[in-house]
Point group: C2
Chain length 169, copies 2
DNA sequence: CCACAATATATCAATTTGATAGTAACGGTA
DNA sequence: TACCGTTACTATCAAATTGATATATTGTGG
């Protein structure tokens, strides 16, 4: 997904500043399946505003710099709808852990079980973190669906590692 | 994982050309947890060669351009071992599917179940694809471990979607 | 026989990252 | 009270990376 569509989509869920978009992507319910940096978000918002796909209103705040709050325009909504008719591309996963595992077997085999044990712990942390994002007020929302999907994946990964951790000796 | 380390690690598993590295990353057992393009692989190989971390020998071939076969040097091996002592960073996953699901609920709710049904099929394809990569001659290799990990994740994702597909109506 | 895939190297504009900078309030702690 | 780290906000930029494309030859299915 291009940053453009990501911004459009997030704004379809509610108005937001660039900072808030970044936060959702880095810490919120988007964090485990999306990434974007300021260097891509801000230019995207500027360009989308020029194209009238989003609106920008400056909200004054006492003793703080103005907030630039962006919201989707009807045109932007159309463009988003159009983008969503296309098949989503395949997932792109990068795992330093799996690469390290593969390489460690070749050059530092004693490292392998450390790697796996650490990773199992990290899954527990991630599961706790994701569970905290669940919203019990709207149990059947897409947001909860996506978070529970994330939890299911984390649990499956943990289970695989726990079951097979002694295989690589 | 930096491209540099990725190249070093792949060469630790055996000599290879830039083309072969790209192929492993795009189609082989690395395909579901790593990515890299020619534009990053070739410059990385050139730089690593300059730094004497890898060697390059030109293999002549009849009627084809020379193959540049790269191999890890003892120095390169040391650098790789060092890199592997560091904790691997967290996985980075990008899923257009999950983003589309979240956005579709807001702007095109009828699209949601299509998205999920298509995705379930794609998981079946991916499972078949990964299974074909398994090497039955070395059942306990790290390579098979990683592929089976991938299969386990695909199955878990498929199961989640199958179980919960009717929740978002 | 032809179009297309595979083998192989390589480049490049456009995008994206990751780090950093600036500014101000708030919270904890010494 | 002074200091320090964090949160809130916008913004930039060098460096890394992508994705597409070019070039050239052989092998292969229709």
């Amino acid at each position: 997904m291009e940053i453009r569509t990501l911004c459009l989509g997030i704004l379809a869920l509610g108005d937001a500043t660039g900072y808030e978009i970044k936060k959702m992507v880095a810490e919120g319910s988007f964090s485990f399946f999306s990434e974007a940096s300021y260097g891509s978000i801000y230019p995207a918002l500027t360009k989308l505003t020029e194209e009238k796909l989003i609106d920008c209103r400056a909200e004054q705040q006492e003793k703080r710099p103005d907030k630039k709050v962006y919201s989707l325009t009807p045109d932007g909504r159309k463009v988003l709808e159009k983008a969503l008719t296309k098949d989503p591309g395949p997932d792109r996963n990068r795992s330093e852990f799996l690469a390290a595992l593969l390489f460690a077997e070749a050059v530092a085999p004693t490292r392998v079980s450390d790697l796996i044990l650490d990773r199992i712990e990290q899954h527990d942390e991630k599961i706790t973190e994701l569970s905290a994002l669940l919203d019990y007020n709207s149990p059947d929302s897409a947001s909860n669906f996506v978070i529970e999907y994330g939890i299911a994946i984390q649990k499956a990964a943990k289970k695989f590692l726990t079951t097979h951790k002694d295989r690589l000796r």
